[in-house]
């Protein structure tokens, strides 16, 4: 997929993030373009999840700027709740609402935020459940679902708000191996539809096949970035080599 001509949708400039004295992000600058799928890999503790969470300000930024569709999230005047409606997020541990049914999980935010009435939201939920192949689970409670099913509901929930961007924080790490495929399939079809996606992942196969660009992070910095196939096949930096030798 060609990316060069598309507009930038996320612009990160010199992003720093500290937890107390511990600096986790040490100056990240990168740009994600409309429709681009960016995979972020790196050893644990490299700061990749924190980086992702800074993109919708689930983590407060210590310094630097994050712009989404031109809006500076670090500006105190920005209504972060408005921006977040355009950014869907999928978590490692799904974080479904256990006291709600599958459909309610999906319809809650659009209705609550006045984006749809409940009828519209229900139709949208039904459509999304069809997309993630869970139409039969519409009235189930999260506790009745498998991990893979939960994650697909979580994706549907994020999509209900019709976001421009989807953030995935290790979406398959908590899954049993046999369920990884069904989640990746949904993500692949999303990518194919042109969704802008930033995916923190350990799935090198997914990174290679689906993503347009790969970021390798280590120690709070982007160490190497570029075409996924090139980097995975022929890493330039010693730390990239070291990491890939362990995971591949």
């Amino acid at each position: 997929m060609s990316t060069t001509k598309a507009d930038p949708i996320i612009e990160v400039d010199d992003l720093h993030k500290s937890f107390g004295a511990n600096e986790v992000l040490k100056g990240i600058s990168t740009t994600v373009r409309q429709g681009e799928v960016v995979a972020v890999i790196g050893p644990s503790g490299s700061g990749k999840s924190t980086f992702l969470r800074c993109l919708n300000l689930l983590e407060a930024v210590t310094s630097g700027t994050v712009k989404v569709e031109g809006v500076d999230l670090t500006d105190a005047k920005t209504d972060i709740n408005q921006v977040r409606q355009k950014i869907g997020m999928v978590f490692q541990h799904f974080n479904l609402f256990p006291h709600k049914t599958v459909t309610e999980n999906i319809t809650l935010a659009p209705v609550m935020l006045g984006r749809m009435n409940s009828k519209q939201a229900a139709e949208r939920a039904s459509e999304l459940l069809g997309q993630v192949k869970l139409s039969d689970k519409a009235d189930a409670r999260p506790a009745q679902l498998s991990g893979g099913q939960k994650q697909r509901v979580a994706i549907a929930r994020a999509l209900a708000m019709k976001p421009d961007i989807m953030l995935f924080d290790e979406p398959t790490s908590a899954l049993d191996p046999e369920m990884v495929g069904e989640v990746l399939d949904v993500m692949k079809s999303l990518a194919a539809e042109g969704m802008t996606m930033v995916v923190v992942t350990h799935e090198m196969g997914f990174a290679r096949e689906v993503s347009d660009r790969l970021l390798f992070m280590a120690d709070g910095l982007i160490v190497e970035e570029g075409d996924p196939r090139e980097i995975l096949a022929n890493p330039q930096e010693p730390r990239t080599k070291d990491f890939l030798s362990k995971v591949l």
Partner: protein, 730 residues
């Protein structure tokens, strides 16, 4: 009883009297022998140790001095007696109710706690000879000039001590004067009620009030002594007779050698009653004393034909104390007076009112009885409760009596007819047969008749009082008069006088002591249900407020804002870090005293419970919210919901489910905590139980019932809550 025309005594009757006198002397001798045996019986207690229960603070009878030592009149008496009688005492200061319960439950051998000798208590306890004569007075705040008599109490609240004579007296006049009586457990609590303005007056025994005022409790006494009572040492009925005997002989010894009087002076100072003085010139002599034939309860013959009564007991006791003997001649009232004027008798004691006319002929002693006229009606007659109800009716009174004089004085005003009769039994028969609706007579006479089951009841307060005196012929036998006065004063001081009156005037033992468990349950049920209602209302209100406080402060705690968290943490720290009881005292006594405003006990109680339970609810809410996975908030926020929306839709519903068991737990705790408010006089379930026990001493049965009520209610409500919990939080 002026104006009683009695038949002159016959020679034959006098003969009977001589025989009687002999038998009386024999009885006295017998009593002396018994007394002597009691002394020897000290071996039964020598070397033994007895547990003696007492009140915690009933100054000047028992209280802790500056060094924390338990001291007071009771303490000095029991310790001195123990030392003299060769036993040791282990004194346990438990509070008054608890002290009585300790004896009834066998936790203590005896109780000495400024405890009035009453018939109700006699059903449960065996009492020693009285050791102090008390009386109830009313005290108000020292700077309160609005309350000077009982009439000023209308619409107000007064306090008295649970189970005390003060309480009994206050309750007896509460309806008449339209005030509310609240019973409390502790003297300092009572005084605090009055100084803080929660109550306007306190009713208590005079030495206690006098001592408290002396110590600067900020009150002043405004009424004379009422409803005298005698204090006695007590053991459980039928138990420890040797301890009782040892107490009596020890007390007698203390009185004899002046130690008793020294102890009283130590604590009461100038208020101490005068010591028995021995009057010169009467010892060893015999005086002829004339009296009436029948003027119950002052003089009459008991079932065995012996001349007994208040007058008889008084003159005999005085004679013994002053070391003379009496030769009593029952002549009839007029004849008795004539016997004295003619020199046939040395003195007369015959329920004789002190009047100016008689003072011209006789020298009177100090008055020994204050009488007064009362109205009695048929016991089952509810239509006559005041003089107003007499219109068009007929009443009876005794010829020549104060009762007749009084009835006639108000007959026109109230429009009734007065009929004069000669004999008491005829009068009563007129009323019970319905020929007359009421009888007017001297109150002791009426009281005694009712006591004996004449089927009447008294419906009005005492009127037109007169005083009875012992008399000698003017200017003769001054030493006899002095001896009578000295002996009477001694008997008043040590309570013997009151005991004699009680013997004749008090109502017989109620049947409360013989109630079966079920009868007791039925009798106490209404009061207990009222208490349970208060308990539930206070619990419900407190929990509602506590929940609101818990939500507010709980959210402050999870708000992430340091200042708000500090506010919530301070609140929790204060109310979780201090005892509920201290908080209750603070809000009820402390705050009103500081602010000069009044807080009624219900408000103070609910306020305390709300704030206290609110602290725990805060922690429950905080814990509930924090136990919801952080990812829930993140997921919600990532969808664009703000913090408040996320809390409401996502976090709180899950937290509530987690909190429910803790909430039910807090509900049970708060319900039980309401019982602590009993010390403030808040009329909840435990308080009602205490009040009933103070009356009937059935502590085992009552606490069982009260405990069972709590258990049933809590069990039922807990199960109900659990069912609701399961249904809502599926």
């Amino acid at each position: 009883m002026q104006g009683k025309f009695k038949a002159a005594v016959t020679a034959a009757r006098a003969g009977t009297f001589l025989a009687l006198l002999v038998s009386l002397v024999t009885v006295f001798l017998g009593m002396t022998v018994v007394g002597a045996q009691a002394d020897e019986g000290n071996d039964a207690v020598r070397g033994k140790s007895f547990v003696i229960a007492t009140d915690t603070t009933f100054a000047p009878f028992e209280f802790r001095d500056a060094s924390g030592e338990l001291t007071g009149i009771d303490m000095d008496l029991i310790r001195e007696i123990a030392e003299r009688q060769g036993f040791t005492v282990d004194i346990k200061a438990l509070g008054f109710d608890a002290a009585l319960q300790a004896v009834t439950s066998g936790q203590a051998d005896g109780v000495i706690a400024g405890m009035s000798i009453t018939d109700e208590r006699k059903a449960v306890f065996d009492f020693s000879n009285p050791y102090f004569s008390s009386g109830v007075q009313m005290a108000v705040k020292a700077d309160d000039d609005t309350i000077a008599s009982y009439e000023d109490l209308r619409g107000k609240t007064v306090v008295a001590k649970t189970g005390s004579e003060g309480l009994r007296f206050a309750e007896s006049i509460a309806e008449q004067h339209g005030f509310t009586v609240k019973a409390l457990d502790k003297a300092d609590t009572m005084y605090a009620e009055v100084t803080s303005g929660n109550a306007v007056a306190v009713f208590d025994d005079y030495p206690v009030l006098a001592y408290g005022i002396d110590q600067g409790n900020g009150l002043k006494v405004v009424t004379p002594k009422e409803q005298g009572s005698s204090y006695g040492f007590a053991v459980l009925k039928g138990n420890n007779p040797e301890l009782l005997a040892a107490f009596n002989s020890g007390l007698a010894e203390l009185k004899a050698d002046g130690t008793y009087h020294d102890i009283l002076v130590d604590y009461l100072g100038t208020n101490a009653p005068a010591e028995d003085t021995q009057v010169e010139g009467v010892e060893g002599r015999t005086f002829v004393i004339a009296t009436d034939t029948t003027f119950a309860p002052f003089e009459f013959r008991d079932a065995s034909g012996e001349l007994v009564g208040i007058d008889m007991d008084l003159i005999r006791e005085i004679a013994e104390r002053q070391g003379f003997t009496v030769d009593i001649k029952a002549l009839g009232f007029d004849a008795a007076l004539q016997a004295v004027t003619s020199g046939q008798a040395d003195g007369v004691i015959a329920g004789m009112s002190i009047t100016d006319e008689r003072k011209a002929v006789f020298d009177f002693s100090d008055p020994y009885f204050d009488s007064g006229v009362q109205m009695a009606v048929k016991a089952d007659d509810d239509t006559i409760t005041s003089y107003e109800d007499l219109r068009g009716k007929t009443v009876v009174a005794k010829t020549g009596s104060e009762g007749l004089r009084f009835a006639e004085s108000i007959a026109e005003q109230y429009g009734f007819t007065v009929k004069a009769l000669d004999k008491a039994d005829t009068m009563y028969a007129e009323v019970t047969s319905g020929n007359a609706v009421a009888v007017f007579d001297d109150y002791p006479v009426l009281a005694y008749g009712i006591n004996q089951g004449n089927g009447l009841k008294i419906v009005t307060p005492k009127e037109q009082g007169s005083s009875y005196g012992f008399a000698v012929l003017k200017s003769s036998n001054p030493e006899l008069l002095a001896a009578f006065n000295a002996g009477l004063s001694g008997m008043r001081t040590d309570g013997t006088y009151q005991q004699i009156l009680d013997n004749y005037l008090n109502a017989p033992e109620g049947d409360s002591g013989t109630l079966s468990f079920w009868e007791l349950l039925v009798e106490s049920f209404p009061a207990l249900m009222k208490g349970l209602g208060m308990t539930l209302i206070a619990t419900a209100l407190s929990l509602a407020f506590a929940s609101a406080l818990g939500v507010v402060f709980g959210f402050l705690k999870v708000s992430g804002k340091k200042v708000l968290q500090a506010i919530a943490s301070t609140y929790v720290a204060i109310f979780r870090g201090t005892p509920l009881l201290v908080q209750a005292f603070f809000f009820y006594f402390g705050l009103p005293a500081a602010l000069g405003t009044q807080i009624d006990v219900f408000t103070a109680g609910v306020l305390t419970l709300s704030l206290n339970a609110g602290a725990y609810m805060t922690e429950i809410v905080r814990g509930g919210i924090q136990s919801v996975d952080l990812g829930q908030m993140e997921a919600s926020r990532s969808l664009g919901l703000n913090w408040m929306q996320s809390m409401r839709k996502i976090i709180v519903p899950q937290a509530v489910k987690i909190m429910t068991p803790s909430f039910i737990n807090q509900f049970v705790i708060t319900l039980k905590d309401t019982s602590l408010l009993a010390v403030l006089g808040f009329a909840e379930l435990t308080y009602q139980g205490q009040q009933i026990i103070a009356r009937n001493f059935r502590s085992f049965d009552m606490w069982l019932i009260v405990g069972a009520l709590y258990f049933i209610v809590i069990f039922a409500l807990t199960n109900l809550s659990n069912v609701i919990d399961r249904r809502i939080n599926k």
